[in-house]
Symmetry: C2
Subunit: 386 residues, 2 copies
């Protein structure tokens, strides 16, 4: 079977986009991605929109149909892909399937969310609707799961609280060089450790922000890619996997089964292993999640990811596995449906040498997008074309 | 490339399901489909959930993750497929892609919606959120588009009002023999023509009802199907296509571009034409839509579908192209995300000889699922295995 290539990428400014609605954001990223890929709108066969919840946030559904109309892509087929906060990763999987199955020779994937116009309590209600109803009704939100997990991790593995803070320091530092990031500023460890407690032991700076934004990728068969460009990436591995919806049913709270299973699937498909990965984008919605994904994906033994962070192994310019060079969800922002696509945008740009001041030396990149509190996870491995 | 087979099907009772929520309905259809296909839950690789709007109807998102948990299918990958009222057809396309791409060897597709617990005005608001905001804010709902289109059709093609009523008579008659249909009763032409006006010239019985329900199909490669059963169907053609989101921008209000384009794609893929189709399930959300699809899919010339209905060509037991043998959306009901899957269930059962009193002689079947007012349409062609 022919390999599936990525030939273009884009992302809008992430942050508070007061003037734009979801359809504006999706159109902005789409048009930029078409230009980046050098593809005419008429040549798009399929258009997948990763979006969790425009109906709840804006009272508008059918945004994929509106987008096709707005950019004049009719009669391109379109579908909305929802896998909660991993909708972007699910979109990568869907776009890959559309090309690999032969159904489409040119698939535009656009992820986006518009969130900042709603109050914090409304936003919490909407996001918490992804959890099991019993969990939310008894007051267990996603941040509280993160706090419980972090407490358990720190005590069980004798990890210092500072190691979590250093994830935030690193990702904020990387975000300074990302012109599309919501926060382009460094934050020092002291500020993080003294910020308000949200879910003990996690504090404000252990959490990603609420964000508006959109990101896009263009997929096609490798033979078609070669007609457009010499610089492209291929998706050599992609898989998704679920864990229990009810978090307390998991045997070990520090093991995210969806991360482990999707990672194994992606490694098997690509014929690569964790030792081959040169750069990674992990789903740092909460700092503790970066540890759990490093361990679930085989970059560290269980209970040891914090030591790699302490030793600088995940630093962009000096580490052996630069992680979240984009700034991660932590600094770049987390517009739900866009985030998994934006992870792919960063890996693509690193592989084709378009990451500017964030550029690292990389032939293989990985992204891991987590839905809910690990309810479903998608892992994607990309390689620079050779 | 190996053909994609369907080896099992199920649907729940459609209607007002007061005791069940969306996750209950999805689980019910899933478990029945697993049993019908003779597949263990552990063997499911991918699980696609066609659902338009559980977040708006029930305040619960992430229903695909809840379903995987409820039926114990972890670590199966799951994603929610939304293409408005064509979410079920989009699910067929997604499930087909998952198998055809090699990503999954066993894909369970489940479509469902829970709607009847909300008031009529709330339901109208939720459904109308699929249209262009300008259309809905100026009062043009989906039923009003149907009324405008019907008036235009009847006058332009000199068709009698009774011909629309005869679509409803036929589909109600077929629904009597479908034990899962919401309405298992005949309705005579006089009752239809004297029912309350909803959107002139269309009356109450020209519209499908609001419905709770779920339906499921099991997809796998043909070689895997042959390990399970001798009786299966293959998806030999499937395609989706969009038309303008803003309905008034279309050149001809009686031509649904999405129907035409998706039909052409499905015919081309299957190597078949309209003359080869033995049985069809069309999206009769409004009676006028059955005419537009018959014409868009090449079963009738433009402006002539009504004559075929008048002549009995679409009758189940005597017609040359039995249409909506299941009872259609009109009688069976229209739980948004379930409807396209339920169309597939009927065609599958007709092809494998499990349609009971509704059975017709068929080797090739087609279903057409319409999103919004033709904003996006998916057409699927299935054949009995040979």
């Amino acid at each position: 079977m022919e390999r599936v290539a990525i030939i273009g990428a884009s992302m809008t400014q992430f942050g508070q986009r007061e003037e734009e609605w979801i359809t504006d954001l999706l159109a902005e990223a789409s048009i930029e991605c078409l230009e980046d890929a050098g593809v005419d709108t008429d040549d798009v066969d399929h258009l997948y929109v990763s979006n969790m919840t425009s109906g709840e946030f804006e009272g508008q559904t059918g945004v994929m149909n509106a987008l096709v109309h707005d950019i004049g892509a009719m009669p391109a087929y379109t579908q909305r892909v929802d896998q909660t906060s991993a909708s972007g990763g699910a979109g990568i999987f869907a776009a890959w399937q559309s090309v690999a199955s032969g159904a489409s020779d040119m698939t535009l994937l656009v992820g986006g969310e518009k969130m900042t116009h709603r109050s914090t309590s409304e936003t919490t209600d909407i996001i918490a609707s992804v959890t099991h109803p019993v969990e939310y009704k008894t007051g267990v939100t996603l941040p509280s799961f993160a706090g419980l997990t972090a407490r358990h991790y720190l005590e069980r593995f004798d990890a210092p609280r500072e190691s979590l803070g250093k994830v935030a320091v690193k990702n904020h530092k990387n975000g300074v060089d990302n012109p599309h990031a919501q926060f382009q500023k460094e934050v020092d460890l002291e500020t993080i450790l003294e910020s308000p407690i949200v879910a003990d032991p996690l504090r404000l700076y252990d959490f990603c922000p609420i964000t508006d934004g959109s990101a896009a990728l263009m997929f096609c068969p490798e033979s078609v890619a070669q007609e457009h460009t010499d610089e492209y990436a291929v998706v050599s591995g992609v898989d998704g996997a679920t864990d229990t919806q009810v978090v307390h049913e998991r045997e070990d709270p520090t093991v995210m089964g969806g991360v482990v299973e999707s990672g194994e699937g992606a490694y098997e498909m690509s014929g690569l292993g964790p030792e081959d990965v040169d750069v990674a984008e992990l789903h740092d919605m909460f700092t503790i999640l970066e540890f759990l994904q490093m361990e679930g994906l085989g970059f560290a033994e269980q209970g040891e990811a914090w030591t790699l962070v302490e030793e600088g192994d995940t630093e962009r310019d000096t580490g052996s596995l630069p992680t979240n060079t984009s700034g991660g969800l932590k600094s770049k922002g987390h517009p739900l449906g866009a985030s998994g696509v934006a992870q792919g945008v960063e890996i693509y740009e690193q592989l084709v040498g378009e990451a500017g001041p964030r550029q690292v030396d990389a032939d293989v990149g990985l992204c891991c997008n987590v839905g809910g509190f690990g309810n479903c996870v998608i892992t994607t491995i990309m390689e620079a074309a050779k």
